[in-house]
Structures are given as structure tokens and as C-alpha cells.
């Protein structure tokens, strides 16, 4: 066994027995593998899986194969069919005949529900159940959900939902508790640590089958930072240090301003640095200011960073957030001319994948689509890291900026905490429906099927320890250097000791939405950064009072695990 394999296993805190089991498995997988790369670090892979499972995973990730075009419905059905084994172990053929379920989810970029339909088609054929679909655009999702909750008209049995909404549904007791057999079927322990309880739970009850892991990572163009002309210009203009990928927001600002007027090494068009997303996006745009702010605002050892824990007093007008807002204002003149009208969807799927800009904070979709989307031209020049840090960090307790002895402060923004599949209480009174709904959810969150979803365009990012096995990605067709960079950025963000974790409080998107509106005005020059931040804080205070301050404080503490 190689040293790095042993180290990885130790890092994963495997028992001696698991190590031995892993070594045995590694041998069998090495025999299956025809690539030299696959045999290089098989320990972690082998630790958990039987040869059959390894073979299955190897087969599904080649549908259709990375670089062979975007997957189609036929591919989704094929993957769903191949991954039915876990369902068959718990459900007899035709057991749910006559059962009808309603599934509410998203249709973003023709993904999410579109994939679920394909994955569940073979499940329906096997179990006999029928699923009706409610498809929603991202921006319509929150209002539809809130109306259903508020008017008592929950008309769906299965729900695709993000963890931030758990406060909304959990506090009203609308969800069904996950049965133990589902936990076993989906191999619950395989989840990365930050997605384990309290995430996915309410009042101690496990509610969700996780199908996604979310964090903002830092996407950058490797060709920019290896370009000799740019390096020379950087020196000639007297900038400090070598021409290199920025690791702090201070450097991101400097590089963004430096690149104005230069030429893009790939497209030959105008070069640009960081891409901000100033246009509102149904509340989701606020995450992008957060990503600029967390390194300034999240002080190591302090859990809270968005509100004061005991009072819910917003910290959005603290010097940390004001600096982040000012950074956007300062950077916008160096960004593409129409940037003020760019929302996150535009920055990622139009600008970034289309070759505009050299730095972008986004969810992992930006990386997975870079290689697998038909519209991407940056697949070969795209690399990743965790979000940049800051030379100094604002300590809310002392009210001062501090330079840490350990160097720059890093605080990855674990924004949104990923999508999950939930089952509503509607099914609890009917045992067949209950089992069928949970079986469908378990199928979608299955360990093997999830490997496919995190490798191909799906809207979902790695969220299990078993998703970080590089040889499996290489086997699918990914370049090893590319995927190592990508997975490291994701895994290092999830496991970062100073990660900024999303507050799961009711109405969180209302806070974000009102902030987006004010930020749009601030970025357009109608008010200063401080005035904008103060306006957001005032609106948030009002909203907290409207939603019930005591309740919000209680739930905010709970979401931070306090």
C-alpha cells in the first residue's frame, strides 16, 4: 500500500479492519482497471465498496462520458435503471402499484426535475408507483413554497428543497421523519461532515435525503496566470510580488484593476478580472456579496457572522461588509461594461463558460459545467481554489480589524448547504405511500447514482466522502489535474475550520431579497457603501420584528449549533 493511500485512510479515521478491507478491495479494483491512473490511489475507494459496486460506478460514469456532449434523458434513465439495486433490496417488484405521488422541484437549466424524471422512470416501472410533477423556476420556488406553507395547501408528497428553507417547514412540522431503512440504503454516514446533523434535521428528527453539497469556491483561468505577457506587464507596472493566482481579496482587487485594457489569452478579446453579480436574482444574489465578505467578517472561533447571536442585530453594516460592498463598487469599472446588469446566472453560464473574465466565485456548477457543458470553452483553462482570504479580519467583539499571526484569514462561504429531497407529512397516514415516497427519495440520493450527478451537469455538487475519489473522475474522462483542483477546492471549503455556514432561519430569503434591492442601488451609485449597508441593516431589523425576534434568535442559535 502506498503511503498516500495509508495517510488518506488514516485521515478518514478508518479502523484497522476497514484498512484491511480497503486494501483487499483495492487489489480487486486494480484488476478491473485498465488505466494506470486508476491504480494509483485506490485505497479510499476500496475501503467502502464491493467489486460489484466498483464495477457499477465505473460503468455509470461513462454514460455518456466526459467530453462527449451533454447527457440526455436516455442517459438519465439508463443511469437510473443501473442504480436500482439498492431499491430492489428494500422494495418488491410492483409493491407500490396504485400509489400516486406528487413531486415538487426545480427546472433550472433543464436540470433537477428533468434528471429526477429520468432517474425515477425505471423506479416507477419496477415499483408500480406513479409520480406527478410540479416544476418550478428557481425564482418561483420560494414564493410557491411559502404560499403552500402559509395557506396550508401543501399539495406535494416529495419536495426538492434547500437546507435554508428547513426553518420554514421544520418550524411548522410539515415534514416526515426519515425511517432507519432509508438511512442505511443511502449510506448516510458517507455524507461529508458539514452536511450531517444539525443540517437536514429539525427538532432532532432527520428530514432530508441530501442530494447536493454547496459552497462557493474560487474559479480562475489558469491561462491568465501563466501568460508571459501578462506577467511582464504586471512587473512593468510595478506591482508587488509575482504574477500569480490571487489568494486574498486585496489581490483580487489589484488583479481586476490591472487587467483592464489587457487582452484575454484564450479568446483574444478584452481581458477581465473578477466577475461580480450586482443584479438581483431572487435573493440568491446576496450570496455573492457574502463570498466577498466572509473573509473580512468571519472571525476564527466565532460562529456568528451575519447577525449578533443574542439580539439578531445585523452585522451587514459592520466595517467588514461595508468593505466588501466598497470592493464591488471599486471593481465594477474594471469589469465588463454591462456588468451592473449581470446576475449570477449570467456571470457563470454566459460570461464565465463563454470565456469572459478570469476569476469567479460560484457554486461547483461552474467547475462541473466547464468540462461537460456544450456551451463551455474554458474546460481546459479552468482551475479552482477555496475562496480568497483577507490580510486582516474584523473582530465584531472588539470592533477592530486584526491581522492574524497565522496569516490571511480564510472563511469559505458554505452558501445554501445543498439541495435535498424531503418527504411531507401528507404521506404519514398511508404506509404504502410513506414507503414509496421515501423509497423514491432514497433512489435519488443513492450513493452510486449520486456519483453520476456530481460528475455531469445536474445542479448538484460533491457531498459525500466517496465523491472525492479522483480515479473515478479520471475514469469518467476528467483530466486528473483539473479534477484534483476542483475537488480540493470543494472538499477544503466543506472541511474548513472557519467555514461560514448558512443560517437556517425562517424567511432567510426575504433578508437576502431586500438586501439585493438595496445593493443594486448602491452599486448603481445612488448611495455610498455605508449608506447602503445601513439601509439593509434597518430593513433586516424591521423584518426580524415582523417575523418574531425571539423566535428568530432561537432558531439562529440552533442553526449555528449553539
Amino acid at each position: 500500500m502506498r503511503v498516500e493511500i495509508y495517510d488518506r485512510l488514516m485521515a478518514m479515521q478508518r479502523s484497522r479492519r476497514q484498512v484491511l478491507k480497503g486494501a483487499a478491495g483495492a487489489a480487486s479494483i486494480a484488476a478491473l482497471s485498465s488505466t494506470g491512473v486508476l491504480g494509483s490511489s485506490l485505497g479510499a475507494l476500496a475501503a467502502e465498496m464491493s467489486p460489484d459496486e466498483v464495477a457499477l460506478r465505473k460503468a455509470i460514469v461513462q454514460i455518456p462520458g466526459v467530453g462527449k456532449g451533454s447527457p440526455t434523458d436516455a442517459d438519465w434513465q439508463k443511469v437510473g435503471e443501473m442504480c436500482l439495486g439498492a431499491t430492489k433490496a428494500n422494495v418488491k417488484e410492483g409493491e407500490f402499484k396504485g400509489v400516486e405521488l406528487t413531486f415538487m422541484g426545480l427546472n433550472n437549466q433543464n436540470l433537477h426535475d428533468f434528471l429526477f424524471r429520468g432517474f425515477l422512470k425505471p423506479w416507477e416501472a419496477y415499483t408500480g408507483a406513479k409520480i406527478n410533477w410540479i416544476d418550478l423556476a428557481q425564482a418561483d420556488y420560494n414564493p410557491r413554497l411559502q404560499q403552500s406553507i402559509a395557506t396550508g395547501t401543501v399539495d406535494f408528497d416529495i419536495l426538492e428543497m434547500g437546507a435554508p428553507f428547513e426553518g420554514d417547514v421544520g418550524s411548522k412540522g410539515l415534514m416526515s421523519e426519515m425511517p432507519d431503512w432509508v438511512k442505511q440504503q443511502i449510506d448516510f454516514e458517507d455524507l461529508v461532515n458539514y452536511l450531517k446533523p444539525p443540517v437536514g434535521t429539525w427538532d432532532g428528527k432527520q428530514l432530508r435525503v441530501t442530494v447536493d453539497g454547496d459552497t462557493h469556491n474560487f474559479n480562475y483561468r489558469s491561462d491568465y496566470f501563466t501568460d508571459e505577457n501578462l506577467a511582464k506587464a504586471w512587473k512593468d507596472e510595478g506591482h508587488a510580488g509575482d504574477w500569480a493566482v490571487p489568494t486574498t481579496w486585496q489581490k483580487v482587487q489589484e488583479v481586476t484593476k490591472f487587467l483592464k485594457g489587457k487582452k484575454d489569452p484564450l479568446t483574444g478579446g478584452d481581458a477581465y478580472g473578477y466577475l461580480d453579480a450586482p443584479k438581483p436574482w431572487g435573493g440568491f444574489g446576496f450570496y455573492f456579496l457574502e463570498s466577498r465578505a466572509t473573509a473580512y467578517a468571519k472571525y476564527p472561533g466565532q460562529k456568528a457572522w451575519l447577525f449578533d447571536v443574542d439580539t439578531m442585530k445585523p452585522r451587514v453594516n459592520s466595517p467588514a461588509f461595508v468593505r466588501a460592498i466598497q470592493d464591488v463598487i471599486d471593481a465594477l469599472p474594471s469589469e465588463p461594461p454591462n456588468q451592473i446588469n449581470a446576475d449570477p446566472n449570467e456571470t457563470c453560464f454566459s460570461q464565465w463558460l463563454g470565456g469572459t473574465g478570469s476569476m469567479l466565485a460560484w457554486w461547483g456548477d461552474a467547475g462541473s459545467n466547464a468540462k461537460t457543458s456544450d456551451s463551455s470553452i474554458v474546460g481546459d483553462v479552468c482551475a479552482f481554489s477555496i475562496l480568497p482570504g483577507s490580510d486582516d479580519v474584523y473582530n465584531s467583539q472588539t470592533g477592530k480589524w486584526e491581522k492574524l499571526a497565522s496569516g490571511p484569514n480564510f472563511a469559505p462561504n458554505c452558501a445554501y448547504l445543498g439541495w435535498g429531497v424531503y418527504v411531507t407529512k401528507r404521506v404519514d397516514g398511508d404506509s404504502a405511500k410513506h414507503k414509496a415516497a421515501w423509497s423514491a427519495a432514497a433512489h435519488l440520493g443513492g450513493k452510486d447514482l449520486s456519483l453520476w450527478t456530481v460528475m455531469y451537469p445536474s445542479g448538484f455538487q460533491p457531498y459525500r466522502n466517496s465523491h472525492f475519489i479522483i480515479p473515478e473522475w479520471v475514469n469518467a474522462g476528467y483530466d486528473e489535474g483539473f479534477i484534483k483542483s476542483y475537488l480540493d477546492s470543494e472538499g477544503d471549503s466543506y472541511n474548513h475550520p472557519n467555514a461560514a455556514v448558512e443560517p437556517r432561519i425562517p424567511g432567510i430569503f426575504q433578508y437576502y431579497s431586500v438586501a439585493e434591492d438595496i445593493l443594486a442601488n448602491t452599486f448603481a451609485g445612488k448611495m455610498t457603501a455605508q449608506e447602503g449597508a445601513d439601509a439593509i441593516a434597518a430593513a433586516w431589523e424591521k423584518l426580524t420584528d415582523q417575523l418574531g425576534r425571539d423566535q428568530q434568535i432561537k432558531l439562529y442559535k440552533a442553526s449555528l449549533g449553539m
Binding site: 395557506t151 420554514d168 461594461p337 446588469n341 430569503f509 431579497s513 418574531g548
Partner: protein, 380 residues
Amino acid sequence: MVLKGEATLAAVEDHHYQISSEPISARRKNTGRWLLALATLGLVATLVFQIMTTHGGSISSLSANWRPMVYAYLVWSVAMGISQVLRRGEAGLQALFVLPAVLFTIAVVVFPTLFGFYIASLDWNLSSVEGPHFNGFANFVQLFHDAYYWNAMLNMIYYVVAVLAEYAIAFALALLLNSEIRARKFFRVAFLLPFMLSPVAVSWMIGKSIMEYRFGPAATLARHLGWSQPAFFANPWTARISIEALDAWVFIPFLMILLLAGLQALPREVQEAAKVDGASGWQGFWLVTFPLMLPVSITALIIRIIFKLKLADIVINITSGGPGGATDTVSSYIYRVYRDRANVGYGTALAVLYLIIIILFLTVLIRTTGKWTRDSTRGA
């Protein structure tokens, strides 16, 4: 035989239009009154029962159980009709012709409007644990200090003023299509096409594709024409004009078709007489055609302004109201407050005030233009 037949027909017609003068017995009238009273009691009892049996009379629970009220209203409506006949005889029968329309209007227009006023008086956020509660005029006080609302209102003034430019273009096109040009029928259909398109499709196809900064054909053309950075939605006034242009492109055909219909209804003799009197082309238009077209023009403009005041879809899709609220409309702002922030009470208050403002504005507009039209046409 013929005479006899004519007499029979006359008798039948007399009978058909004759209102029965038979006296209605007091007992029958009382039955009618009791029936209506019972039905009303049932309606009120259903309402009270529903409020009492829901959680603290919460509006959300009430709206979740709307069916009993609908059934009670239907029963009451039928009882109301029967009562009319019992109490008023033939006159009651005649009332039955109008009553369904009246009751339907009450159900789907009057009641929702009044209910909207009630919701506007609530502090109701869908995410609030406590649910809705009455807060009087607080929402209206708040909206008077809401800079985003008044900013959107100011934008609406710009958009409404721009209707005049749309009208001028539409009039020119209508005159063109009313003249003897080749392929006139083809152009009539072709010019109408934008109006047949969904504004949402226009937003995506034109606003987000053709006018896209990097690769959009309109942006490429603009670069060729010397505009180095053709960002159509980055600067407040450019964005406003771009949104207006898109909306105008969709709705000018609507104005044009109304004006064209008006032009075609004008007697040709008037223009011919003007020509005989030596009027130039411009004089023929400005002193003859235009005044005669004023009634049609005013109608077309008022309908167009009503459409304009509801502008939202293009703005939501392309700019979300930006940059910095420059393109925001009242409807798109209400949409954000209501939908993204689930602030039902305040969002409804915004909509209610907007409704009142629109009603007042249109009333003044109709009266003023009506008087002006009468004076102008009389002068002409």
C-alpha cells in the same frame, strides 16, 4: 286566413311583452322574504362558523377552506333569485336576466377588491410564525416613505409620457398602411406580428439575445456604427430607453391597428374636399384627418396607457428593475415585495394604492380629453 294569422302574431307579441298585473299575494311575498332571510342567515352562519373553527380566525386558514363559503354563496344566490320572483312576480323574472351577472361580478370583482383592502390592512408575512394581524393604516404610512415605490412611480411617468412617441409612430404607420402601397395586406399582417409575441419571449429573444453586450447582433451593429461599448442596460437612461423601445415594439402594432380602423372609417369625401380647396398634404392631415381621428386616438391612447401602467414582464426578465431602480415599474416592485419577500399585507397595500391612483388618473384623463376632443372636433 292571412289576416287571422297576423292578428294571432300580434296577440302573441302583446302577450310576450305584457307585464303581468296580477296582484301578488301577501303569503307569496312573505315566503320570498323568509327564503331570502334564511339563505342570508345560512351565508352568515357559514362565515362565522368558518372563522370560529379556524385557528384564531386566521386569514390563512380561512382561505384554505374557501369551498363552504362558495357553496353558501351559490345557495344564497339561487335563493335570492327565487325570492325575487316570489316577491316581485314579473319584475322579479326580469331581474333574473341581470342577477347572475351582478352576483358573478360581486363574487369575482367587488368582493376580491374589498378583501384586498382588508388584506392591505394586515401585517402579514408568510414566514411569520405569528401569522397575520391587523395593523390599520400602517402599511399605507410605510409606503409613503418607501423610496423604491416612489422611484418606480416616477419611472411610470416617464413610461407613460413615452406613449405619445409610440402614438406618433403608430399613426405614421397607420397612415402608411391606409394609403395605396404595394403589398399593403402583407405589411398589415407583418406589422402586427410583434403584438402577437409574448413580452416574455421578446425579453429573451431581443433583450437578452439580440441586445446582449458581447455577441448580440444589435450590439455588434452598434459597435460598427461607432458605439465602442454598446451596453444597452448599464446606464440608467440607456436602460430606460431600451426597455421602452422593447415595450413599444410590442405594443405599437396594437395602437396602429386601432388607428387604422379609425382611418378606414373616415369618409373620403372630406379629404377630397380639402384637396379641392387647395389644402397641402400636411394641412390635409393636421387640419382634417387628425381632428377627425381624435376620438379614436384618445380611446387608443387610454387603452395603451392602461397597458403601460401594468408594464412588468419585460422589466423583470431583463433588468430586474435595474440599474439602481432606473427601469423599475410599480408592478415589478410589487412583484418583488409580494413574491420574493412574501410580504402579503404590504404588497397588497402597494397594489391597492396603485389601483386608486390609476382610477383617479384615468378619470381625470378621460374627462379632460373628452372635453378637449369635443372642443377640437367642434372647431374643426
